[in-house]
């Protein structure tokens, strides 16, 4: 019990710290790297949640493919440090304040929701029933559910990817 909670706090701290740095670092390259660290911490949390396949997917697709795409664009555009806001730009301080305010409201809302749910007696938040972890982490079970219950969604996803592919080529190509 103790070590599990300790591991959770360690990985959670890494994830939160790295995410804060994603937002705080002025150079986009550093943001991308910090996001990869956050993904790695989240992958560790997925392993703790008996979802090793999700963890591996997180590393292969998020860290290995999507973030490489981001890195590629940062290098291609030779993105530099974020410049200071130009004087006279509309709402320079405004977004800063409203962003902080909205984030604070969100946190407060979540805290309230968790607190309210704590009172209900279905025991979900404290741990719940929890099926045997073996079937939860098995790739076989995942595949079975994905290709039976979620078949339609899966097929629609393929259309989404084709649309995204065509869209990306059309947008990024100078002239077709």
């Amino acid at each position: 019990m103790g070590t599990e909670l300790l591991l959770f706090y360690a990985f959670a701290a890494v994830a939160v710290g790295a995410s804060v740095l994603v937002v705080a670092r002025p150079h986009p390259m550093h943001s991308v790297l910090m996001l990869i660290v956050a993904f790695a911490a989240l992958a560790a949390l997925y392993i703790q949640l008996h979802a090793p396949f999700a963890a591996v997917i997180q590393i292969i697709i998020y860290a290995g493919a999507i973030m490489v795409l981001f890195l590629f664009v940062v290098m291609l555009l030779n993105a530099r440090q974020e410049e200071a806001p130009a004087p006279g730009t509309l709402l320079v301080r405004g977004p800063l304040r409203s962003g902080a305010l909205l984030a604070a409201v969100l946190v407060a809302e979540l805290a309230w929701a968790l607190d309210a749910a704590q009172g209900s007696d279905d025991g979900l938040l404290a741990g719940g029933a929890g099926a045997d972890p073996a079937s939860l982490g098995s790739v076989r079970e995942l595949g079975r559910v994905l290709f039976t219950d979620y078949m339609f969604a899966f097929e629609v996803t393929s259309i989404l990817i084709i649309v995204a592919m065509v869209g990306a080529v059309v947008l990024a190509k100078r002239e077709l």
């Binding site: 390259m29 790297l33 990869i36 090793p52 396949f53 591996v56 590393i59 292969i60 860290a63 290995g64 493919a65 490489v68 795409l69 890195l71 590629f72 290098m75 291609l76 982490g137 790739v139």
Partner: protein, 341 residues
């Protein structure tokens, strides 16, 4: 309990030292084979037949000064070779390199020759390979030199393109084996068809094996796909600005990656440690023989084939390998459904 832990650490240490040694042997083998291909003698002055040449090389690199360009991004520049080397070592952790053995009766309990037996081993290898690209990309970007940056840009597009074919050829094997654990995949390849043809998956997946090897060469940035380095075009590509130990780490990572790709190919396609004559407990000898054959193929290819043009590389990846890999996967899936494994 204690002897088991000692055994585990022993395996860990063994794998680490074996990888380091394999890199040194590869440096020597590469130069000797290259010399043979080009009808030269190769290194022959340091030690018997030049066998100590890698030691001399490492010593020379150790004593060199570590240089860093003034405009480089300091932390990322230092981190990049470490990422490369770490990822190279980490990928080997889940690769089994032999059946259970007692090392000629040295140990009381038989130990499994594998650092960590993971259920989703194939995917873990794939994941670490896909992360190892960051070493190259960050090295190229952080050096703030145009050659390095070009090398990094090339390696990103090259690795994204070939990772797809690499993954699809792996998936076809997984369909045949019906498992994700490398140990069980190797065990499924024991025995013979018709009494003499070994049940290796290479005979079920010949196309998959070819695609895997080509994509593997591209993933490890070896000639004829060595665009990120491309001495004649980019000076040395992503590691132009590196010297001393950081340069050695890239070198080490490249050779260990070759060993890992060959080891995974051996496990997935060539029956791992299964082989005739030797008993199962000495299967690691077969494993070494198979890896050595694949590594020789790697070196042979480098010194025989000229480098492709960049557009040819992209055309090969997207217009030839990827469709073939998809076709291979579909045919394999149909075959598995039809013949029911």
């Amino acid at each position: 309990m204690l002897p088991l832990i000692v055994g585990q650490f022993g395996i860990l240490f063994l794998a680490f030292v074996a990888l380091l040694t394999s890199a040194a042997v590869m440096v020597y083998a590469e130069r000797k084979v290259a010399a043979a291909v080009q009808q030269r003698l190769g290194p022959y002055r340091v030690g018997p037949k030049g066998a100590l040449q890698p030691v001399a090389d490492v010593l020379k690199l150790l004593f060199k000064e570590t240089l860093r360009p003034a405009a480089a991004d300091k932390w990322i520049f230092m981190l990049a070779p470490i990422i490369s080397a770490t990822a190279a070592f980490a990928a080997f952790a889940v690769v089994p390199f032999g059946a259970e053995t007692t090392f000629f009766g040295l140990l009381e309990e038989p130990v499994r020759l594998q650092v960590a037996d993971v259920n989703v081993a194939v995917l873990v290898v794939f994941a670490i390979t896909s992360v190892s690209i960051y070493g190259i990309v960050l090295a190229g970007w952080s050096a703030n030199s145009k050659y390095s940056l070009l090398g990094a840009l090339r390696s990103t597009s090259q690795m994204i393109s070939y990772e797809l074919s690499y993954g699809l050829s792996l998936a076809a094997v997984l369909l045949v084996a019906n498992d994700l654990s490398l140990t069980r995949i190797v065990e499924a390849q024991g025995g013979y068809w018709f009494g003499f043809v070994p049940r290796w998956f290479v005979f079920l997946q010949p196309l998959g094996f070819v695609i895997y090897m080509i994509a593997g060469v591209a993933e490890t940035n070896r000639a004829p796909f060595d665009f990120p380095e491309a001495e004649q075009e980019l000076v040395a590509g992503y590691h132009t600005e590196y010297s001393s130990m950081s340069f050695a780490m890239f070198f080490l990572a490249e050779y260990i990656n070759m060993v890992t790709v060959s080891a995974v190919a051996t496990n997935l396609f060539l029956g791992g440690w299964q082989g005739p004559i030797l008993p199962e407990s000495m299967g690691w000898i077969w494993f070494l023989v198979k890896i050595a054959a694949l590594l020789f193929f790697y070196i042979w290819m480098r010194w025989t084939l000229p480098r492709l043009r960049y557009d040819q590389l992209m055309a090969l990846g997207w217009k030839v390998l990827l469709p073939l890999a998809v076709l291979n996967l579909v045919v394999t899936a149909a075959g598995v459904v039809y013949f029911g494994n």
